[in-house]
Amino acid sequence: MFPILSSLIILPLIGSLFLIFIRSSEKNTSLKYVALFITFANFFLSLYLWKIFDPSISTFQFVENRIWIEGFINYKVGIDGISILFVILTTFITPLCIISVNSTITYRLKEFLIAILIMETLMIGVFCSLDLVIFYLFFEGGLIPMFLIIGIWGGNRRVYSAFKFFLFTLVGSVLMLVAIIAIYWISGTTDVEKLYELGIQEEYQKLLWLAFFSSFAVKTPMWPVHTWLPDAHVEAPTAGSVLLAAILLKMAGYGFIRFSVGLFPLASIYFVPLVYSLSLIAIIYTSLVALMQEDMKKLIAYSSVAHMGFVTLGIFTFTQQGIEGSIFQMISHGLISAALFLSVGVVYDRLKTRQIKDFSGLVNIMPKYAIVMMIFTLGALGLPGTSGFIGEFLVLMGTFKKSIITAAIASIGVILGAAYMLWLYKRVVFGSLLKTIDVKKMVDINKYETAILSSLAILIIVFGFYPEPLIKTYATSIDNFINTLNIPTELSLTEKIK
């Protein structure tokens, strides 16, 4: 059988090798075309994968298993309905990042593109791996290119931000490594499929859960370990922010489903109150913080924390609606946050500032920009008819089944979300044009930007009206996932929450 998953993983890496041998010229167009070609090829390959993927099977498909270290580590990859969409999201977002590079990266373009391609390899690897060790390698490997992207191509305080990013994520990941080794000692394998079958004894689950949680919570990010995110976003170049928000954060959400809940269901239930409280804090607290931000990127970064709060909330409801909603929310947030960061990038490129007060009345000179930005704003505040609504709604519906009060508090976040997004839009786009803005620089979006932003806008709307293709892809897998969790009766869970 053709190793399609390995091809997906390896292709960007091969592309980056190509890039090394291309000499950087003045215009660097050839570099970009090669990178674009590779990533688009990868995107179409992943679409083909989606086409031949059978959503009615709940087990892993396209599994490849090769021995790496005899008796210890296997290179094992495979996908099911949960992971395939993340793979496609990754392959879709990466070429958009490369197109957006146009005017943002002014030096060392070759190295930048290589970093992004390696990043893609690692990200796809995370979503495909079925062995804890190689999952860990991909998961933590992603740190390095991101660290470089922020540290080299970032803004003024890039070193501090890169460092903060690294420190936070590393602390969490070390604990996860320890936990993976422990699992190997306990169960004698790191194969995820086998571990699902074997299960892990209850006595170990809580500690192991906490170790995994510490890693995923930092990456999600959950309160109170979220403070690296705004700094990282602010300093990262646009493409870096997009990758960070659209995909890196999703790796943690995916990890929660696949590993925290999948491997340690009993501990997951035990820790539900913790997760709910942290999620609620994330939703309310960061929404309020977002309201007061003066930097556009920071505002969107904080809003990402709030949106990921819905994701963690939904996953730990263990209901069909909750988990499906979480996955939908992640995909949708992947599109919307990417779109918002790209939009901020558009005005940053022109005016070299991200302060909200430096903008006003952009609609007067950039009408096209105003339209797409409006769609993204509405998507971010979860208007029905955009993809943002479906995720939030399903999550809240699932949460409501488990804990009414939690759902009620989380719903307040939806009101606050509307407040900070609309206020941002009003201050930046509406009103009359500021005198300090140079009209000549602030031209409307060009054809590349239009292509990127409108394709995102169309997807956001299409999935809002017709989410079936996504939901159908993962429905069976999740149904099966919930049934095999061996969660004791519903009743005991509800009791615990109360």
Binding site: V289, A290, M292, M397, V414, K426, Y466, E468, A475, D479
Partner: protein
Amino acid sequence: MEILIVFLPLLAAIISGFFGNKLGNRFSEILTSLFVSISAIFSIYIFYNVMINDYNSNIIISSWISSGTLEVNWSIKIDPLSSVMLVVVTFISSLVHIYSIGYMHHDPHKSRFMSYLSLFTFSMLILVTSDNFLQLFFGWEGVGVCSYFLIGFWFKKQSANNAAIKAFLVNRVGDFGLALGIFLIFYYFGTINYIEVFNLIPTLVSEKINFLGFNLVAIDLICILLFIGAMGKSAQIFLHTWLPDAMEGPTPVSALIHAATMVTAGVFLVVRCSPIYELSPLGLEIVTLIGMSTAFFAATVALVQNDIKKIIAYSTCSQLGYMFFAAGVGAYNVAMFHLFTHAFFKALLFLGAGSVIHSFQNEQDITNMGGVWRKLPFTYLMMIIGTLALTGFPFLSGFYSKDAIIEFAYLEKGSLSNYAAAIGVITAIFTSIYSWRLIFLTFHGSFNNNKLNIKDLHESPLIMLIPLFLLSVGALFSGMFFKEIFIGTESSQLFWKDSIMFLEPLSKDHPPLWFLLLTPSFVIISIPFSYYLFLKKKLIIEQIVKINYPLYVFLKKKWYFDELYDFIFVKSFKNLGNFFWRKIDNLIIDRFGPDGISNIIKKFSLYAVKFQSGFIYQYAFIMLLGFSILLTFLIIK
């Protein structure tokens, strides 16, 4: 045909929204007006079919969301209730479209405006034709966002932008209640389809639920949550603050969205859910209470306002209150009847006011008007008809619907409904006074405008006057004509069938004759009374204001709701946000988190650096020291 009714406005919106610049403003105007008018004609045909042939249908267009047991479809449900709403929405909307061609004549963004109007019409149609709660919610937020676009249409005006955001956010608070209500319904029934839910609802009668420490009857809680949504959309007291501000938008918008259609969605929701509300006495009492408080509150505020549109806005608020307390006393069909007639005369009043504003070149303060009825004879006539209908002058449309509400409240047993009837009569008197005040100050007396010369004023163009005329026909005769169908004792049953549920049939008694005559006679007396008060002897009013100055300011400031909310919510949320960000995130988490760790490491490494001084004798000394300690340790052991 149903599909055409719903999707023609959407098609028009898309074409004129995206291609309006290329195809020209004139093209967009004609296209949108034409498509919505076609949709209106079809709706009237459907309504006729429903009325005569008992037509009934539920078209499933496609599936929307299916997740676990949750199955939601895009659907078009036609039953008596939705057919009435169809007619109201498309008819008023098409007239407003045509009117806007004239009103927005000077605006450069006409095609965008028309596109928003059509998009709104589409969302509203989606809302009323839904067969489940989620599609309703879609339309609910859809009309909200269109209202946001249209209020903030003049995006350069800061006040318009703020009003738009305020409208959206206050509505979101209401939507929060509605969403929780939907969740609760799903929680109990595992479905959110109207028919399935309504069939299952009787099984829930004795179910209790613990909510925030209160032990509530589940149905009551559902009703209250749904009603919070209705309060937001229909601008009921506590969630009403957005409606007067929404008058920042262009006047046709106020007529369509903030008078005739969107704001009545809340009433529609309560009537649609009559099978749920009928089983919840507490829910109905709350609806009545909020309805009558709003009716009274808004009417008092309208008495002292000077902005022509704000007066009518508060009047709308007050009339919506009437509809709610009609529903609250169980007379759902009467509520729908008032919704129906109100749509005509309130749209007429708004469009008439728009015509006045148009003539006065965007002046809205009625103290700067006056004495122009000869210059604007047609508008004047239209406004008079609208006012007569609104105040419930005998045999005009408002007379049939509003008096019916008061009568049903009177007949309904229970102290609350009697109280509501009394409030209804008092509010009717207030309504009449503020409406005539508006007419007299605007059209009679002396000309008070400093900026314009009275000779420059002229009647609005024909394209604005024709819609006014058609609406005035509705305001004059819709009450008389549709009375039997909507609220006749026998005939209304035949019309509504099971789209409205009555647990017990409405009382067939008639109130005593004196009560029947009470309201109309007050209404008639108040015309000369207001004439005397506002034109002949202005001193009396000034005296009253002087004596009751605190009360006057209290009313003028709209009972201080805005100031209160600003203090409680806006300011404190901002402060809280700042506190979380600057104090907790930056000062606590970062200081003791990453920055703290990096500081510790830095200090450690500084110590470590000191050891590496580069002098051999120091290294030798430390080696010796270490060696001797090790040796000592071994020996002791």
